[in-house]
Every structure is written in C-alpha cells, then in structure tokens.
C-alpha cells in the first residue's frame, strides 16, 4: 500500500498563507490540513455568531480557500480543517460559494457539527477545573465545546468528502482521520491510533517542526525563515512517519526540530489524552534519514478514556491597560516614579481594581524581578500598568491614569497607549462521549 502524504497548511488561525499554496502545488500531497482553532477562539467565534448568525467561522477561511481550493480540486488533494469554529455549516456554505465563483465542479464539502454541548451541560451537574459547577457561571457562560474525535471525519471521507470543515475536534484527529480512512485502521487498534496521533501532533503546528519557532542565532541557526516551508508527513501503513518539506523552501527538518515539536505541550509523554486513544510517546525514536528527512516511530497507545474534554468559554472579567515609555539618562528612575504615581492615583480616584501588575518592559516584565538582572541601567524602559476590574468602565480608568502622565507625571514620557476589554476566558470539564453526537451536513456542486 502506498504511503499517504499529509501537508500541514496552518499551525494557527493567523498563520502565513503562502506555505499552504507551496504544499498544494509542489508537495505531492494527498491531504492538506489547516489547524486554526486555539483554546479560546471558539468562544470568541460564538460571540461573533451571536451578533451575525452567518459568521462565527475563521476570519481567514475565505482567504485560505481562495488560495488553495482550485489547485487542491484539480489535483484531488482533500482539505481538512477546523476553521468552522462556532459555525461549520456557515463555513461549508462559504466554501461552496467560493468554489462556485472559481468555476469548480464535483466538489463535496462536509460540515461536522455536534461539538457544541452547552445544552448537554445545562442538563447535568458538571464541575469545571476551577472546582466550581459550570452552571454557576450563569449569564457569563458563552460556549461549551467538546473535543470530538476522528470518527465523524472518517465517516465524511468514506462518503467521498473533498473538503471537511469542523468546529472543535482534537487537533491530531485532523490528521488521524485520513490515516484511518486510507489504511483502514480499526478504531480500537490502539497501537496504530497512537502512532497516527503522534503524526497529527507533529504536524498540527505546521512550521513549528520545519524550523519555525526554533532559531537562536549562534546556537540554532535556521536559513530562510521568511520563506519557511511547512511540513509534509509521509506516513506508512504501520503509522511510522518521515517528516519532510518541499525542496527549496526555507527552514529545516532535523532531529532537533522534530524533538522540540514532539514534546510541545504533551505533559506526560506516556499518556497523551485524546478522544480516540491514550497515546504513548515515551519510547519514540527520531532519526535523520536524509536532508530535511526525519523518521519518527515507536509511539503506541492504550484504550481511550471514554470521556471528552469540554472547553467552557465565559466572560471572566474586564482588563484595563496603559503603557508609556521613558528613555535616556534616568529612564529607569522616571519609569519607577511613573508607576508609583499611577498606583497612588488609582487609590485617590477610587478605581476598583482587583489583581494589578506594574511591569517595566525591557527590565523585568517577562520573567519578574528575581530572574531579571539589575546590574545594568537600561537606556529605555516602557511601563505597563494592567489591572482586572468588574466593569469595562472601571477598566478604562486604568489606561486613563497612565495617559495623564503626559501632563502630570515625570519628565520625558512618550508614546502612551491605552486599552480596555472584556476577558473571554476558558475553563474545562469532562463529558461522557455517549452524551455527544456528531452530525455531518454536506454541500455539493
């Protein structure tokens, strides 16, 4: 049986578009995957859908489809993506509209729904990872989406889908599904599902395995990051994979780039939990088998837990922020004075702030005081005051108190900016998979 070649065309919602075109044109791939749905994205998408029911899918969906739909249709490359976000059916309708405008024919688009489990949660007493009942969030609750597994995608492929657009599914399932479909793996072949999940995990962040997010000049040099090529997984029937990229594209595929991505966000390497399998990467081996070719094998798996993770999106609080820069001699002393003034102003003006941070950007904003050296005087410092409030009105006042440093604060402050927003945050809970039913809707031309 021939190997399956899967290309990863995006590692997050805002990712570059050209690498996916390059994969479609020159990658000799069978499938093109776009993973575009971060933890909180679906809650934000749900808000967008509430304002306009035709929206709620990825804002770059149309751009990405305009870029690759024709070439994929001509070459028979199937597209699988979670760009449906809160509205997979709306996304499928949009893809059909674009396909028609491009004059394409014989295209079957599958929209996979069922991940929205808000009504299921409302019928039970589920506790989230903060230890609180989910329903205690009341009218602050925005969305609840279960991570679906590969099965509905496998079903859609069996029905001849050329494009699959989903809402929340486990990221590796976008890759696991075509492997199950192509090789006929059983849904309880835990060993192969573990291998396929590893392939999905390696590919899901796209350029993060081909030298993106890796360079550290003098230690880890990577050529041509402005033309970074995205990865191709060349997968065998036993689930072993060679990671590679289009010849001549930027970046590199080495044992080191693959190891960084292998361990990325997996927590316990022996128990990587997905809806389809408990994958075990603890005995994986990585070996360079050619230029920009790395063979990875040795994953296995154990029976799935039967529980699905659910991301619960809610309005957590409001955050206000103000920033101002100081430079030249005495910059640090003036920035410190500026922070002290803002702190006192917030008290005098009785701004009700909970948690608050006074950061000195360029000094200690990222790693805090204890990890940041204090023996050199910075030439420039930017203060950042950010605090949490119970209302947007209070949040706005934080940035205002920074901005008034222009006329009322230390000398030579410049470049004030301010912002205030509501914070959509995410908690998680678990739901028995039997309570979640996926459905598939097709659009055809």
């Amino acid at each position: 049986m021939k190997n399956i070649r899967i290309g990863a065309g995006a590692g997050y919602s805002g990712d570059r578009i050209e690498p996916a075109i390059e994969l479609a044109e020159k990658g000799d791939i069978d499938y093109l995957i776009f993973e575009c749905l971060a933890e909180r994205t679906i809650a934000l998408a749900q808000q967008a859908k509430m304002k306009d029911p035709s929206l709620g899918y990825d804002p770059l969906l149309a751009d990405r489809m305009h870029a690759v739909l024709r070439i994929c249709s001509e070459k028979g490359i199937k597209i699988i993506t979670n760009m449906g976000a809160a509205n997979p059916q709306g996304a499928a309708a949009k893809i059909k509209e674009i396909a028609v405008s491009l004059g394409l024919v014989n295209l079957k688009i599958a929209a996979i729904s069922g991940d929205d489990v808000l009504s299921v949660l409302q019928q039970g007493n589920y506790i989230d990872d903060s230890g609180q009942p989910v329903m205690a969030l009341g009218d602050k609750l925005l969305s609840a989406n279960a991570y679906l597994g590969a099965q509905p995608l496998v079903d859609a492929l069996a029905q001849g889908a050329d494009v699959i657009v989903t809402g929340r599914v486990a990221d590796p399932a976008l890759v696991l599904a075509p492997l199950i479909h192509a090789f006929g793996w059983a849904m309880d072949d835990w060993h192969r599902l573990g291998q396929g999940t590893l392939v999905g995990h390696l590919l899901e962040c796209a350029g993060q395995i081909t030298g993106g997010y890796f360079a550290d000049p003098g230690y880890k040099d990577v050529a041509d990051l402005a033309r970074l090529g995205f990865p191709i997984g060349e997968v065998s029937e036993d689930g072993s994979v060679v990671i590679t990229k289009v010849a001549g594209s930027g970046g590199q595929v080495t044992a080191a780039t693959c190891k960084e991505q292998l361990l990325y966000e997996i927590h316990d390497p022996a128990a990587y939990l997905t809806p389809d399998v408990v994958a075990d990467f603890s005995a994986v081996t990585v070996s360079e088998v050619g230029i920009d070719r790395v063979a990875i094998q040795g994953a296995t798996g154990h029976p799935k837990t039967g529980m699905l993770k659910v991301s619960v999106g809610y309005i957590d609080s409001y955050v206000g922020e103000g920033q101002m820069s100081y430079a030249g001699p005495g910059a640090l002393a003036r920035a410190t004075l500026a922070c002290d003034i803002v702190a006192e102003r917030l008290k005098i003006a009785d701004v009700k702030v909970g948690e608050i941070r006074y950061d000195l950007i360029g000094v200690n904003a990222i790693h805090g005081a204890s990890l940041s050296p204090t023996d050199t005087e910075p030439y420039e410092v930017r203060i950042r005051v950010t605090g949490r409030t119970d209302s947007l009105k209070e949040a706005i006042r934080i940035g205002n108190e920074v901005e008034t440093l222009y006329t009322c604060g230390p000398a030579g402050g410049g470049g004030a900016t301010k912002a205030a927003k509501d914070v959509v945050a995410v908690r998680s809970t678990l739901l028995p998979e039997a309570l979640v039913t996926a459905s598939i809707h097709y659009e055809e031309i």
Binding site: E39, R40, D129, Y213, F214, D216, Y219, K220, A256, K259, E260, Q261, L262, L263, Y264, E265, I266, H267, D268, P269, A270, S282, A283, V284, T285, V286, G298, D316, S317, V319, E355, I356, R357, D359, I361, A365, I366, H367, G368, A369, S370, L371, R384, T386, G387, R388, V423, V424, A425, V426, R427, S428
Partner: protein, 102 residues
C-alpha cells in the same frame, strides 16, 4: 555551564500549566541534564512565577526531559494579566540555569 550551551527548549501551555522541554544537543550530555536539572532546581529557579507542583518526565531515547509546571501562567492563559500570557518566554529562562560541567 549555562544550560543554553548544551540544550534547547520550547515552552507550551494549557490552562494554567506550562510545559517546558529540555533537549540535549548531544545525547552524550543527557546524563548531566538528568543528574543536575532536578525538579528542585527548576522549582527554585521559577519560585516567583510557578506556584504549583513541578513534575519531570525523562525521555532518555530522545536525550530529553519534559517539565510540567502547575499554576505557572497567572491563573490561566486566557485570563492572565502577564505580557507573555502563554509563558512562551519561559523556555529561555530555563536555559539561563547553570549546572556543573561534570
């Protein structure tokens, strides 16, 4: 020796948990990493940032370790007030640790 000279690292996040890999450039250096980059050392290094447990997973086949840091992201990526809410820059702080040469 500064860890940066013998190993590389990438940070990832889930909720309020940070995941830091530590990968030897040369597998020959891995035993040194396993010997010296202990849970206690990492916990102490991040004392002002990480408020929960630190767990270390070893992957000798890869010459790598994986550190899972609980309560490390200001209450969670999606609500943190930190400038680097994802804790992406924590990998560089890990590489700034120093360990004995032998």
């Amino acid at each position: 020796m500064q860890l940066r000279k013998m190993a590389h690292s990438r940070a990832g996040d889930k909720g309020d948990i940070s995941n830091l890999s530590l990968i030897a450039y040369d597998s020959k250096d891995y035993p040194l990493l396993e010997k010296y980059v202990t849970v206690e050392l990492v916990k102490a290094h991040f004392a002002d940032i990480v408020f929960g447990d630190v767990v270390r997973y070893t992957l000798p086949e890869l010459g790598a370790m994986n550190f899972v840091l609980q309560k490390a992201l200001g209450g969670g990526v999606t609500r943190s007030l930190a400038l680097d809410a994802h804790g992406k820059c924590l990998s560089s702080a890990l590489l700034n640790l120093h360990i004995p040469d032998a």
